[in-house]
């Protein structure tokens, strides 16, 4: 019998086509059905949570999928936290989307796709085998592709969807090479089901001694490649800002709260493999994460598109989670707690921020330039107040939840520095993360002040007003959670990994991030709290131009690699192919005197054909007779 936990992810998947079809006639049904199915998932998740809360035995049920690959569900404390978060946030966003998408003629398709996405995401979390995990990994990628391109008639959206798919595909294929290495090496050692997650995480030391820590490091690096593609880490982060062309609820659901954290979940899921690999695997995760946290933050401070600011902040925040996981060799499995706690908090406040952005864009008719907004706090007080809560959470100002989750990660990075030789190399992560916190404060309050304060700088902004209060209820719930989730910090850590190490750092270090944030807030008040920014002309400044050009990485990928390398290669090869084809024909007619003979064959080709066939069979018979008669 199937365990009821299967239906956590099966229900939305089954309801996805139903809501598309049922919603065709009565549009309202689509959103209702999709939300209902996710409510079922949420209820089931809560039941599962209650049932495994007290024990450390996970729910594990599996079947043979094909060959020596099993598929099934594996629900431990980590997974149950993730399903609770995903189904809850997804439900909030679905409820809000019923308002946000109310006028779209294809909203049945929209809700079908988001329900499918939610099912895929829940399946990814519960998967008990890495290949099954990869199936859902790609399914959510497909949904992301479809939903980014949901407004397919917008050329920008179509091209953003293409970019998102291809860039993540690069990461996905690195991931599958990692699976190939793991599979090949373990199968040779006669492991019955080499990609099964419980097997991998329970036998990691044995696996390391069997296939060698070196190989495990290669696997870890390749998995990191996959995670970097999905979770938009440097240098594969380029697709997320473009993906903002999709509906804002999609950005909230997929590109802020859930799918982009799948890479973090992947690494957390197989963390014992990293723990038993050489330290390089963990360090790569740490440095990529810490660097991305800073790197994306610096771009965020010059972007003017409201949604793209949030997109860069997502990249940056995921960098923090990644960095936390990277410290596994020093702190053991405790890092899962640090990372996942920030993941959950981030999902809540980022979903909130995106939905407030959605409300603003709806009333401003998709005008996304923050320089054209302003003065909205007076015109839409409830929405902007909610956005304020989201912003202070993003900037990790106490007492919001992110203050607890993010500053813990920064403090852990300081301890990493102490425990790893206190050299210039090991202090880098901490420096990156602290400067990243400054960047966070800068771009968050720059965005907030430009949106909320001052005078309206466009006609649309002047006429903005709050939507009906009832549609803001999901946002209020998320805002409430942003403020209060900090209360459960240590219980959360211990639920995921029993006896998580408590982080203790010197007082001065503990207050460093907060000081940095305060400085950041003061700077933004100085510039954007007034009208000073309107008199600043940075267009000539080389640093500004470098940031504005996003460090030329997009240019490198599209203008250089795609257009200067792949495209000419393709053109050259297809020209070669054409020439090859023509020369074959030429050689053929030359060798056979095609002019005459071929035309003859052409005229009576079937007769000739039978001559060939019969001659062949005749020779065979003849040989049979001759040889048989010997």
């Amino acid at each position: 019998m199937l365990n009821y936990a299967w239906f956590i992810f099966l229900t939305p998947i089954i309801f996805a086509p139903i809501s598309v079809i049922a919603g065709k006639k009565r549009k309202i049904l689509a959103g209702v059905l999709a939300s209902l199915s996710i409510t079922v998932s949420l209820i089931l998740s809560v039941i599962v949570w209650l049932s495994i809360r007290g024990t450390s035995t996970p729910i594990y049920q599996t079947f043979n999928w094909f060959d020596n690959i099993n598929a099934g569900i594996y629900v431990d404390h980590l997974a149950v936290v993730m399903v609770l978060m995903v189904s809850f946030v997804s439900l909030m966003i679905h409820l809000f989307a019923m308002y946000y998408m109310k006028d779209d003629p294809r909203k049945n398709t929209y809700f079908g796709e988001t329900a499918l996405f939610t099912g895929g995401m829940l399946g990814l979390i519960l998967a008990s085998n890495l290949l099954e995990f990869f199936l859902f990994w790609e399914l959510v990628g497909l949904c992301s592709y479809l939903l980014v391109g949901f407004w397919f008639f917008k050329p920008n959206a179509a091209s953003a969807a293409k970019k998102a798919f291809i860039v993540t595909r690069v990461g996905d294929l690195l991931f599958i090479i990692g699976l190939a290495v793991l599979y090949s090496l373990l199968t040779v050692h006669n492991v019955a089901s080499p990609l099964s997650i419980p097997y991998l995480i329970n036998n990691a030391p044995a696996i390391a001694s069997e296939i060698g820590a070196q190989n495990l490091t290669i696997i870890g690096l390749l998995f990191l490649g996959g995670a970097a593609g999905k979770s938009a880490q440097f240098p594969l982060h380029v697709w997320i800002p473009d993906a903002m062309e999709g509906p804002t609820t999609v950005s909230a659901l997929i590109h802020a709260a859930t799918m982009v954290t799948a890479g973090i979940y992947l690494i957390a899921r197989v963390l014992p493999l990293y723990a038993n690999a050489t330290p390089l695997a963990g360090e790569a995760v740490l440095y990529i994460g810490a660097f991305t946290a800073l790197f994306a933050g610096t771009i965020g401070i010059v972007v003017n598109d409201l949604k793209r600011i949030l997109a860069y902040s997502t990249i940056s925040q995921i960098g923090y989670m990644m960095a936390a996981l990277g410290m596994v060799t020093t702190f053991g499995e405790s890092v899962i707690g640090y990372s996942i706690y920030h993941l959950v908090v981030h999902a809540v406040f980022k979903a909130l921020l995106f939905m407030t952005a959605g409300v603003i864009l709806l009333t401003l008719m998709e005008l996304r330039d923050v320089k054209k907004m302003g003065g909205l706090w007076k015109r839409m007080p409830i929405t902007i107040s909610l956005m304020f809560i989201g912003s202070i959470t993003l900037a990790a100002i106490p007492p919001t939840a992110a203050f607890f989750s993010k500053d813990t990660i920064i403090d852990v990075a300081y301890n990493y520095f102490i425990m790893n030789g206190s050299n210039i190399y090991s202090i880098l992560p901490w420096v990156f993360l602290v400067v990243g916190a400054l960047m966070t404060a800068l771009y968050t309050f720059r965005m907030f002040f430009l949106v909320a304060l001052g005078k309206p700088r466009s006609k649309l902004a002047e006429e903005a007003k709050d939507p009906p209060k009832i549609v803001l209820i999901p946002l209020m719930i998320l805002a409430f959670m942003s403020l209060t989730l900090g209360l459960i910090q240590y219980r959360f850590y211990d639920f995921i990994v029993p006896n998580t190490t408590r982080v203790v750092v010197p007082m001065i270090i503990e207050y460093t991030p907060l000081t940095v944030v305060a400085i950041g807030v003061l700077i933004t008040i100085g510039i954007y709290g007034t009208t000073k920014w309107q008199r600043m002309h940075l267009e000539k400044n080389p640093v500004y131009r470098l940031l504005k050009a996003k460090y030329f990485l997009d240019t490198l990928f599209t203008r250089v690699i795609a257009e200067r390398v792949i495209l000419p290669l393709s053109s050259g090869v297809s020209r070669l192919e054409k020439g090859f084809s023509i020369s074959i024909e030429g050689a053929g007619s030359g060798a056979m005197g095609f002019g005459g003979i071929l035309r003859k064959i052409e005229n009576g080709v079937v007769e000739y054909y039978f001559v060939f066939l019969i001659a062949g069979v005749a020779i065979l018979m003849l040989l049979l007779e001759i040889l048989g008669g010997i």
Binding site: N68, E138, V170, T187, E577, V606
Partner: protein
Amino acid sequence: MFILYIFILAIIFAIISILMKKGSWEIAMVESLILMVFTSIYGLVRFSTYTGGMISTSSFAIDKSIGITFSTGMDGLSIALLFLTTVIMFAAIYTARNEKFDRRFFGLMMFTEVGLYGLLISRNFLFFYVFWEAIIIPVFLLIAIFGDSRKEKASLKFFVYTQIGSVFLLLSILTLFSYYGPSHNNVFTLNMSALLNPSFITKDITDKVPFWTYFALFGFFFAFLVKMPSFPLHSWLPDAYTSAPYPVTIVLSGAISLMGGYGFFAVLMPIASVIGAGIAWTIIGLGIFSLIYFALTAMFQTNTKKMMSYASAASMGFISISFGDGLLSSGQVSYTAFAGGIYQILAHGLIMGLVFASLYLIKQKAGTDSNLSVSGLWRDMPYISAFFLAGIMASLGLPGLAGFISEASIVLSSYYVLGAIIFLVIFGMIITASYHIWVVQKTLNGPFNENLGKIKDAKASEIALLSFLFIIILLLGVYPNLFFGPILNFVKGVI
């Protein structure tokens, strides 16, 4: 025996089709439907408990003294491909509802099906060869009569290429045959299982692999690589695929393309232990080169049909790779590689069926299959667009669909043999993903090209076929054991 009755039924059907003057489409459609249903029922009944080896064997001696028998039999490989054949033939005939196609067309289609059926059930090299040849005639005629303006050149090229391949096939069979008798007390046979015996093939006085073995291997490889097609023997493919009318393209890409792969796994896999590492690496090299070369060529095509023809050729590269991997590895890794290769034949055929069937509808409704002159098709034809997108996604190996199971098996098992070379395979897959996604962006997305005028979405009957193909692809992607189990048992029984 039951399978033999279906085969005889297929012959009767083909004759009926060519004789009946009216209602050719309806007749052929029902006939191919019956064949598909019967074959599927047979497969479900007999292969649910399949544990390897040959089942449903039957044998009619034609000349006992020299060992010619019409012997038939089924195994995990042939049931998978037989299912593919009947589904693809049904789909091709179903889409061919067009006044242009008369009874000649449907008769030839049914004869193609007979040929494929015969090839897949034959266990005697004489009949293997006869059916191998017999498939060429109807397909050649279908292209030559019903093709587009370049049909003469295309059909001739197809004919000459496959004919040269067949000559080599014949020579190889003759070689095996003529060396078998003298070393077996002058008992002559054309039985495939007797001739494809590694201990016979390597048997020599000096205990070395004799020269004629290499000759025979070369002939087999040449014949199968032409049919596959693999670089550099592929020149017939783009011409034949694009020149043929769409239903014939479906047959070419879905069913005819299985012949090369079938040859690999039915003829060459049993003698895998004879094939040296040099040959195996050559095959892998050709496979990887084909994958990248065809993918890069496809990327630059402005005609979607031609693009997908090259895409079809590129994904055949996986079969070569898997075959070489299987040869160079042992135990479970080689099972996975070989089984993945066989599953790839099945998955590729079905996926190409869906891609070309939906592209045919786009061509009919929008009037062109050039990807530069259509855009924004989602707006007016959401159903066709959805199925075309599904086909494209399946073709680039999206998990949950049939192509993923085979590509995953092949890639997973290939690291053991390929090591870092696996990055070349991945490079090919990235190129594949890029142009697949590009063609979707170009044709389905973007603003609607108003020059196309008013276009209609598919009718319910057309959607039914596309859904049917899609459901099979989805089923084989989610529940692969339906075929993967028998295929794996077959592989384990042979190796």
